[in-house]
């Protein structure tokens, strides 16, 4: 059971709702993913073509909305978006994203820490999206983050766990759930993150942009379960077995 901010979840796959070709495909893919948490974004309504309303399309009883602050370039903008989100009925849950670099969309650690402190004190359950920086992850926990969301690889790259070693350190040190986010391009990447001991993963592009998003959603769901089971079971250590030294130099012991 995954527990974030005191709430229990059966599924360890969080799914993003962006980039789907239609609401119908998105709804079917989310069902197939088994996800209980879905991320959404806040945007100005397009006055010319308002389009479908995601609030109406998704069953709020079934899915916890995790609004993000995508588009925020600094702490002030993120805090403003968070409060708008709450006013819009988004609740207290928040995936905090502060991405000043429009090219890489990598998160700003300084602004993210500032915003987390403000928002956690304001009663939000803050899940900050961060580069895989272990010290930053600890600092965020110290100011009240409900979980941390290190990126496996820069968003949209589908590269998998390029920050593998750093994420391992984050997991080993964490006092809150670790959700690996961004860059997971294949179910095997998600499985690898879960095998490492991540508490959950968040996937959007790899499902939404797949030729068959519904089948891909199921694949990720199975991969996350497989990876989690493997972690719980315990994986064998890799590498060649260490030859035991016949002369370990222990002759000094208990000679009396």
């Amino acid at each position: 059971m995954l527990t974030i901010a005191g709430r229990d979840f059966h599924s360890r796959l969080l799914t993003g709702t962006g980039k789907f070709s239609s609401s119908a495909v998105m709804i079917e893919a989310l069902e197939e993913s088994g996800s209980e948490i879905v991320t959404v974004a806040l945007r100005r309504v397009d006055l010319v073509d308002p389009g479908d309303d995601i609030m109406a399309a998704l069953d709020r009883e079934r899915y916890l909305f995790l609004p993000n602050t995508s588009g925020a370039r600094n702490s002030d903008e993120a805090v403003r978006l968070a409060r708008l989100s709450r006013a819009a009925g988004g609740g207290d849950w928040l995936k905090l994203e502060v991405t000043p670099d429009p090219r890489t969309l990598l998160p700003d650690p300084v602004e993210t820490l500032m915003a987390t402190e403000v928002l956690a004190a304001d009663g939000f359950h803050v899940l900050p999206y961060i580069n895989a920086d272990p010290v930053l992850a600890l600092r965020l926990q110290d100011v009240g983050a409900a979980a941390v969301m290190p990126l496996g690889a820069p968003i949209g790259t589908n590269l998998g766990l390029v920050n593998r070693y750093q994420i391992e350190i984050i997991i080993d040190q964490a006092r809150v759930p670790v959700v690996v986010d961004a860059g997971l391009g294949a179910p095997s990447h998600a499985a690898a993150a879960m095998e490492m001991g991540a508490d959950a993963v968040l996937v959007n592009t790899a499902i939404a942009m797949a030729p068959d998003p519904v089948v891909m959603a199921r694949s990720f769901s199975l991969a996350v379960k497989a990876g989690r089971d493997a972690f719980v079971s315990g994986l064998p250590e890799t590498g060649s077995p260490r030859a035991s030294s016949p002369d370990a130099g222990l002759g000094f012991l208990d000679k009396s």
Partner: protein
């Protein structure tokens, strides 16, 4: 009168409330959040909040996102 909504100039009639304006855009007031001159407007205030000439409205709602 002219107001600014989501960065665009829009025509609105004098005496129109925020709620009426939202409905005129064929949006459900329950699913959007509104900033009036950069200040958040509570949902229960929509009917009583009157538009003013040159006021700036932001109408925001949830969309798909990762």
């Amino acid at each position: 009168m002219e107001i600014i909504c989501n960065g665009e100039k829009k025509e609105a009639t004098v005496g129109m409330s925020v709620e009426e304006f939202i409905i005129s855009l064929k949006l459900d007031p329950e699913t959007v959040v509104v900033e009036f001159n950069e200040a958040l407007v509570g949902r229960d205030e929509y009917p009583g909040k009157m538009l003013e000439p040159g006021c700036r409205l932001e109408i925001i709602r949830f969309v798909g996102g990762g």
